[in-house]
Symmetry: C2
Subunit: 409 residues, 2 copies
């Protein structure tokens, strides 16, 4: 392929992903950690450790790390372009929620302890950005406290490492200690109902419409949506070794209005940059109530991050999940698909496509989950069901919808 020739098929193919320096499957990482202990409950959503903190056999610990990934690079460009520091508060929330919602899926809904690790290029990231990150963190913790979720700030490290970090890298690590009988372990059976919670819209605790992005797929989304003008303008925002035509090869400026179609929500107060930068929604308040009131009906909880709508495959034993009533793709994901020409089956493998939390539940309780989500103005719906497959290693996910039928194994 010559540098100017666009790939003709599947722009999210493993090859294209790889050329942008992202492991679609993380197979190398999984190979490297294969021999590490899987923890007390391998089917829990997070690694569950013995109670190192207290030495009590009735308790377990979780220590969990994640970052905002390359969403930080987009925040950098948007801040440089507009002067808007708020996007850095969003990045703090992104990195936090990537941890907190994973841990909540394992039963840890507070109290929690968090610590940040920020690497920055001091030439490019001044103190006011650090302040925005730190204040964004405390504001999010205060908001969670108001919603009944207790999170303590343990401090953190901010390193000036311009020889390593092009702009900024923002991560958090979170700790929880909980009773072992409170650890939630996925056990998804045939005949479960699948309830999904929307990642877009405006939850009662959100200040603006949320595009639904989360913090996954950003390397693809950034380069496929945004315009080549940023190649020259912000060369520090991408790897110079990436093939040029894969860098910022999209139609939009960061401050362009969001194109909408009939039936879309009013997005006139946003622009393309902020649509993609919507801070990752947390489902913590919902999950905390689920464990208090609906736990007996619960079989599985999946935070659909890396792997998108196929993430659940890691937690299935001899089960097929039929997803036949997912949310219609919100505007953000339609725009990514259109700009990139990505086949829809690949879109569902990389992005959450409008729902970032899956609850596998006893069918008679499904409506209770939908109702509970509505308390925070989060749309939820019964999106499908599970059935058995012939052999335990033949688990699969079937997505059926407006864009076709896609099978993932």
């Amino acid at each position: 392929m010559t540098p100017t020739q666009k790939p003709q098929q599947d722009p999210l193919s493993a090859d294209r992903y790889d050329q942008r320096g992202v492991s679609a499957s993380k197979s190398e990482v999984h190979d490297a950690i294969r021999h590490l202990d899987k923890g007390l409950f391998p089917n829990a959503f997070c690694k569950i450790l013995p109670d190192a903190a207290g030495g009590d056999p009735d308790f377990a610990n979780i220590l969990h790390a994640d970052t905002a990934g390359t969403k930080t690079s987009l925040a950098y460009c948007y801040w440089r372009e507009t002067g808007n520091l708020d996007v850095w508060a969003g990045i703090a929330q992104d990195a936090l929620v990537m941890n907190l919602d994973d841990m909540a899926c394992a039963g840890a809904t507070g109290p929690l302890l968090i610590s940040s690790t920020i690497g920055r290029n001091k030439h490019l990231i001044p103190g006011e950005v650090l302040a925005a990150l730190i204040n964004g963190t405390t504001a999010f913790l205060d908001q969670m406290s108001d919603l009944g979720v207790v999170i303590h700030h343990g401090g953190g490290e901010t390193a000036d490492v311009g020889d390593i970090v092009r702009t900024a890298d923002v991560g958090f690590t979170a700790f929880a200690r909980l009773r072992r009988d409170r650890v939630f372990v996925n056990a998804i059976k045939p005949g479960a109902a699948l309830v999904v919670l929307s990642s877009s819209g405006q939850a009662s605790y959100e200040a603006h419409y949320n595009g639904g992005m989360g913090s996954n797929g950003l390397t693809s989304a950034r380069h496929d949506l945004f315009h080549a003008v940023y190649r020259q303008k912000y060369p520090e925002s991408y790897d110079p070794a990436t093939q040029t035509d894969l860098v910022y090869s999209g139609p939009y400026r960061l401050t362009d209005p969001v194109p909408t179609q009939a039936g879309d929500p009013d997005l006139s107060k946003l622009d393309m940059g902020r649509l993609v930068l919507s801070p990752t929604r947390t489902y913590l308040p919902f999950l905390r109530e689920v464990f208090q009131h609906l736990r007996p009906a619960l079989q599985g909880l999946i935070h659909t991050t890396g792997g998108g709508q196929t993430k659940v495959l890691h937690f299935l034993q001899g089960i097929r999940v039929v997803k036949e009533n997912l949310f219609p793709a919100p505007p953000l994901f339609r725009l990514i698909q259109k700009a990139s020409g990505t086949p829809w089956h690949a879109m569902y493998r990389v992005f959450n496509m409008g729902q970032r939390l899956e609850c596998y539940v006893e069918p008679q309780a499904a409506e209770d989950f939908v109702q509970l989500a509505s308390r925070w103005n989060i749309e939820a719906r019964i999106a499908g069901y599970t059935d058995a497959v012939a052999t335990s290693d033949a688990s699969e996910v079937l997505v059926k919808g407006a864009y076709g039928e896609f099978v993932y194994r």
Copy 2:
């Protein structure tokens, strides 16, 4: 200053440091976090939190983050140059010990929980490097276990973020829960003896001679020691915005033999790269025994990382520390000084200069501390004493030795 003109004085001046993208004083970071809660015991070496993990008023928690900093960039160059993967195990140890020894100075000597955060540029860092980092981590934990220090591995995150990370960034976060009456809080009084533990030599649990580097000052040391040939060869190993004459402006190739002088240890099995890459020594086995047997005599414990021999200033109230018998500068630090022309007073402000742990103790117990260190073949010595100064905000450190007398406030 024109791009080719060398600065005439103090190559570790704030200005030169700043041009290389490093905060000598971290003042911006301190400003950004000034309003954050300082924890239960502000004079402890780490932030001490209430027991979020257990809700017990008799207990406290520490959640602590740190990285290997730009030492990772040097490991990258050395690995590329020689194919030696062992240096990545050293980087894992560097990032771990930067956490563990800080926490041990606050009384947390195990059990501990750790979690890694690794960001990599997948184009440049293959799976074998991830495996070396992960195996290096488990090997270090196994070794600590043999020495009586229990550390559990909580897992971690490995992110492919080439748009953010030039090569690799390696960090850890560690958690400890301990009884509040076991938290060690610095209370350094006039009339204490200062016992320092060597950062160089070969401890009983180290496989090779340790140059004493630790994980601080690496941006300066790398560029001041190593040769301009690496500018062209590994442009991914530094910030291209750095003034060219400050990048790899030193005399040495990575595989050059270490120049020595009469009285130096035999360093013929090392080369310059591996001398600087010596994995950060941990003092955990020593500190664990200190708390078991010598605690009543202990007034202060300082892990001399960022800030070098002036680090203790953060923990003094109306005290002068007189350091008049520090270890002679080991070969590594002499070479850095000579290559860079850095004034000695600046060397002691940036580097540990041959000792990375300070114990402020009752004078009659000082020899016991020296003896205890010798159990692991770690050289220790009584290096000075404390006395009172007129006002509580006039604390100072006085370094007296072969290179002059330097006062720091």
